[in-house]
Amino acid sequence: MIDRAGEKIESIVPHEGPGVRINARPADGFLPDEPRGILQCENVDVYYGSFRAVTGVDLKFGLHEITALIGPSGCGKSTLLRSLNRMNDLVDGARVEGRVLFDGEDIYGSKVDAIEVRRRIGMVFQKPNPFPKSIYDNIAYGPRVTGMRVDSMDDLVEEALTKAALWGEVKDKLKQSAYSLSGGQQQRLCIARTIAVKPDVILMDEPCSALDPIATVRIEDLMHELRREYTIVIVTHNMQQAARVADRTAFFTAFADEGTGDRTGVLVEFGKTTQIFEHPTDQRTEDYISGRFG
């Protein structure tokens, strides 16, 4: 696995030419030009109080695809991601304008239950955040609180851990505290926990930034596995990572908005990862991925 990662990393040569060259991934040939959007942003603005953090985002996240959001720090990637499953509702004063459509339905619609939105659109955070409970209870928590009907919780726990490639490592210590796991294992536990409630979409905010390279590779492999069943959106600072895992990539940047006086994030360019990294159409994208700014 490490070898494979090594090979992947080698094939991406940063600071060479306009873009970062990557190997065409096998899926690319089958990737439709337009994503079949399961989740879609229509002219989305996100505000914190009167501060406009992100503006005018139009994006489609394709079904069973991995979409990466990249861009310099502070351009609003996390903000946009958190508005995709209404996590930003929890921030006092945060508000979304425009529409976020999930399966054609606006998740900010007046009749929509934010709890159900978060159940269907799960989230994995930057820092592994297992609950202070046993490994087993970490997985079982979601199904329990959402009132999922399960025939056998044991089976569900095994299934989730297996899908998250963690079962082999923890099957003999399910009753132990989740805190006894390593950082990488904790992060896979958090992914397993998310899978256990059977969401349609998984949002990941820099899921590997607290992990070492080996754990990172494991999570990336896992994402490739998960893509068969789930739609994944990942924020990453690591362009090689975006190049390795994402089918499509969206590049954001922040500009000084003269109207509001804020530094506001905008979507610069969105396309297939190969296109974004090899033939960016926007100068800012090209500068960013070739390491000239950001």
């Binding site: 996590m87 989230m123 955070f125 955040n129 609950f131 928590y141 609180v145």
Partner: protein
């Protein structure tokens, strides 16, 4: 010798050798400061030890089983603090039952549910902080006014005293609970909510359980403060001479601090010794309670 050390805007700092044979912490200024810190500690600790030793010496003659089992009497040789001990237990238990759930609920609302940018919530928050600093006698007066309003004639009852003490420690419990809740990382809440749990489930199953040690510690410390209070109870007309066991929340009562207050005011030397012995008893209980609080904190507090 080579001079290390970088330059900032052309400024050059002469480097001292590492092995200069001196200790930077032992130069006059830091040394003076250290000595002052030590002195304050010695003074504070000295006063405390003197006080405790004095009352132990004063009270040693009266520290017998009689203190626990007998009722007050006109002769110090026959008197005990039994009603005061039971009275304190009744009042503190009632206070705990009244205050702890209320304090936790208020703190949970303020910390987990209230919009912190709302001016009204901010005002409440500020005032809770202020209330914790109000002198205890004021709460006695407040309870007195409240009971009068309700038309309670005999205000010297367990529930009356508990009301005054509850008002006194409610802000303390609210603050302690909020601290404990705040110590639970946001990531835990977010992790729970991101799975489709409600705010309520998140609070009930994740945040509160993690905060229990902190809440318990804070509550015990608050109750130990209430246990030592006499002023608000005296305002309510607490009896100073009780020769019966309190039998319920509507029963008359006296408490340890009031019993001490009473005996100290008597002319006979024997009563002063009784007061000292009772003080030692009260101190012992307080030390035990604080010890328990510290134990809970160290044993169960989560390190995130």
């Amino acid at each position: 010798m080579r001079t290390l050390g970088g330059t900032i805007d052309g400024a050059i700092r002469p480097e001292r050798p590492l092995a200069s044979g001196t200790n930077g912490e032992r130069r006059p200024a830091p040394l003076t400061f250290l000595v002052l810190l030590w002195l304050s500690l010695v003074v504070a600790f000295g006063v405390l030890v003197t006080l405790i030793v004095t009352i132990i010496i004063d009270g040693q003659g009266q520290f017998t089983g009689r203190l626990l089992s007998e009722y007050p009497a006109s002769s110090p040789d026959r008197a005990g603090a039994r009603p005061a001990i039971l009275g304190s237990a009744w009042v503190i238990a009632t206070t705990a039952i009244m205050t702890i759930p209320l304090g936790i609920a208020a703190a949970v609302h303020l910390e987990e549910f209230a919009d912190k940018r709302n001016w009204f919530n901010r005002m409440i928050e500020l005032n809770v902080q202020n209330l914790a600093a109000v002198p205890s006698i004021v709460y006695g007066l407040l309870a007195l006014a409240f009971l009068s309003l309700l038309g309670v004639r005999d205000k010297n009852i367990v529930i009356g005293g508990a009301l005054a003490l509850s008002l006194l420690i409610l802000p303390v419990i609210i603050i302690a609970t909020r601290e404990a809740l705040r110590a639970v990382p946001t990531e835990i809440r977010e992790g729970s909510l991101a799975l489709g749990a409600t705010q309520w489930q998140t609070t009930w199953r994740q945040t509160l359980p993690s905060a229990v040690p902190g809440i318990a510690t804070g509550s015990i410390l608050a109750l130990s403060r209430a246990l030592g209070e006499a002023a608000p109870l005296l305002v309510l007309g607490a009896l100073v001479f009780v020769s019966f066991d309190p039998s319920g929340i509507l029963s008359g009562y006296t408490t340890l601090p009031i019993q001490i207050f009473n005996w100290t005011g008597r002319p006979q030397e024997g009563f002063h010794q009784l007061a000292a012995a009772t003080s030692v008893l009260l101190l012992g209980v307080l030390v035990l309670m604080n010890g328990l609080a510290i134990y809970i904190r160290n044993r169960f507090q989560k390190r995130w």
